[in-house]
Amino acid sequence: MLQNYLKIALRNLLKNKTFSFINIAGLAVGLASTMLLALWVLDEYSFENFQEKRDVLFQGKRNFKESETSIWTSSSQSGNTAEYIRKNFPEVKNAVLTDWGNNVTISYGEKSLKKTWFSVETPFFEMFTFPFVQGSAKTAFIDVNSVVLTESMAKSLFGDEDPMNKLVKINLKHSLKVTGVLKDLPKNTRFNFDYLTSIKFLDSIGETYYGWSANNFQLWVELRPDANLEAVNKKMLKVYKSNADGFSNGDLFLYPLSRLRLFNKFNNGVESGEGLNSLVSLFSIISIVILVIACINFMNLSTARSEKRAKEVGVRKVTGATRGSLISLFLSESLLITILAFGLAILMVTLLLPAFNDLIGKQLTIPFGNINYVLGAIILVLFTGFMSGSYPAFFLSSFKPIKVLKGTMQLGRGASLPRKILVVIQFCFSIVLIIFTILVYQQIRFGQNQPLGYDQKNLMYFEMPGEMYKQFTPMKQDLLASGVVMSAYSTNQPMNATGNNSWGYEWKGQKPEQKNQIFDNVRVTLDFLKTTGIKLKEGRDYSPQFMADTIHSVLVNEAAVKAMGLKNPLGEIIRRQRDGNYTIVGVLQDFVFGNPFEDKQPMMVQLMPDSQSASNVVLRLNPQKSATECLEKISTIFKKYESVAPFDYEFVDTEFEKKFSKETLLRNLAYLFGGLAIFVSCLGLFGLASFMAERRTKEIGIRKVLGASISGIVMMLSKDFLKLVGIATIVSFPIAWWLGNKFLEYYPKHINFAWWIFAVSGIMAGVIALLTVSYQAIKAAVANPVKSLRTE
């Protein structure tokens, strides 16, 4: 029976080439996009799944009350927390500190590489599944001067040599012995270190600070399996309070490791649901929508062809076919088409995966060997085949044999109504996607065009390895003398980022709840304003004339003035218990160092002496010189002061672009899948138009004989479709309006929904539909009427 069905299905496929092509191609595109998205989504959901203890592992988070209305959630903790929790929480099996990881030079012999250095406490290895291939967790950090490498780190440093017990140098100054090698980290983990040292080692070189008001560590906690998270978190809230040393240091709570990847976004102290998961869900829905559009094509074309197949249905029923057997016949046809489409889709995915990986910045592969994926694929095919085939199957199999065989069956308005509704739905989806894509594009443009408050062009920075900062003054002179550098300063963090912040300041007129007001901290040497181009609003820049600047002066930005509520900021004093008093000597016009979509944060810029440990040098290049010449000269000067470490530099404008990576991903995905949705919808429209044209051949012939013009006939044939697209446009607007505004709300600073977007997308949909349909309409209209009438 099935064999017979398939034989017929195959013949039908070959006989109706347009129909088959549209169905197979459309479904293949739909399936391919679903599969691509599924690979991505499953990869996102697989994060930390390999951790054997994933269900009992947590990151310590902390909520700060900035003001009555705003709570800020952070992952940084005081270094005292781990010890305190280990002692006071019987529910906790392990608690460790880690630092945040840094790109630091590691060298062995001649070889020197900049890699990610991460520091942990020993129980880290018991908690997280990062197995050793050489050495062991127990012995690795017995000696504080030890380092553990990942396999590929070891390979790139040592080649085929055995790394164990060899000495490597970190940041050109610390000699450490290799005491273990870890298996390379899986891709789906948030950890990305290349080598590990013990926190005790950081202690020994004086790079740690323990105090209840500090916030320089990450905290990881393993609960006992029977512990109740809620109960534990209730107790955690009191950790900082019961250790208060004059500051209110926020409320500690534990957050599941398994949620960190997708849900780690907080609004006023609670998970906001706006993490990566929102992007993942959005595109999961879009990929299913594309598949549905392709299924709709199949339904529409099948029912459009139903008059042709009605006779077959009648004959089969007369020869004894039951309705059930006819339904199976049509379903097996759609299943066959789906299977063919699936084959094509796999081919497409295989070919597109590298490009898709570029787009989303991953290295996904098709897991052909994974039984779950294979089962998933089978379910997908069955589901798609059933979804696209069910409506035609039930519709066609319901025909009454005498009606169709007598030729009195009329598939009038009633039969084409569902088809029209489906076309409207398809185009609704497409138009919403067009609008959404335009919005995303505009929002990114908006972010990029934000007045930055400084001049990005010809601005670069590089990191100073080891103790280079000690020679910053002579190096600065060399750089200026070279002619390629106009101005330079050093700073404690990469240009264009805000990493440090602090709270606990006092000022005149401060309200009680402002004790926790957080300020971004930037520390710079002289020439900060000259180099960046940031403007003074009032007051003065730091100057060598004022000896006290390095200890007693501070520059603040406009946002800080506003946050503090100062009328006349110049000369006001900001106090902090530990640090002392600072006088505001200047107010800077707001500038964007952090996220361009966020409101500007209050910031303090403090002056440090040239000799202080700074990590980065920022340079304003001479615009008259070429970039290559600049780099060459700067690199030579860098080598003069540091012969081993690589010269590693960034241009500020390219770094700035990277801040849009999430938005760019969103935009690229929207382009891709929006385009696909429109393509598949048009494919369906094209098919429908060709059937209409075919069915009306005789009518067109007669009209032409009676004197109708070609343009009149094209209009007549296109009009019906355009009407549908018009309805779809109108229906889609409120949906797009709602969705678009939801998207924009996500950004504190965003564009407004402009009405022209609706107009443009409506016109676009109309033009695309017209182009699609008119091909068939023109073909039918220019056909020789005598010919078409004779064939009747």
Partner: protein
Amino acid sequence: MLQLKNIFRWYNSGANRAFVLRDVSLEIQKGEFVSIMGPSGSGKSTLLHVLGMMDEPNEGQYLFLDNNVLNIKEKQRAELYKKHIGFVFQAYHLIDELTVYENIETPLLYHGFNSSERKSMVADVLDRFNIVGKKDLFPNQLSGGQQQLVGIARAVITKPDLILADEPTGNLNSKQGEEIMDLFKTLNQEGVTIVQVTHSEKNAAVGSRIVNLLDGRVV
């Protein structure tokens, strides 16, 4: 074999009832060869469809092999039809996408024969109807007479007790028509009951009885 009692069939056209069959009573015995005649529009096809359980009368009773056809469930009626009745059309109604062989095989699929049974049954029929050479051709590659032969072959392959034929020779020339009539005669002699609709006196005479319809009434 079957009995129609006071059958009425009408269509509602506006406020009026347009009667197609009026008070038709008819009994057909097993082994009969009945020809239904009458002018165009007199309700012949409708009567045949009622007999073939494809159309339901608005009033009346229909007994088929002691089953009260109009009172039993759709499923049972379909079974009854499948088991006992074969239908032949004026317009042949072959499936264009299938070969001669496959067209003839189609009813067997729905009667649940397995593939080797089907093979031998189709081979038998092809042989008997002398169309072995045409088995791989598609309907549009056959003449009208040949197509009707296939149509009849398809109707008889399940060995029905009753063959209903609506103007089986209507589209054929007289020579082709004769062949078809000969075939019906042979089938009838083998015990198959046949009811045919025809406009031709000559073909009607082949049967054992003629039923005349006029304006939906048996006259």
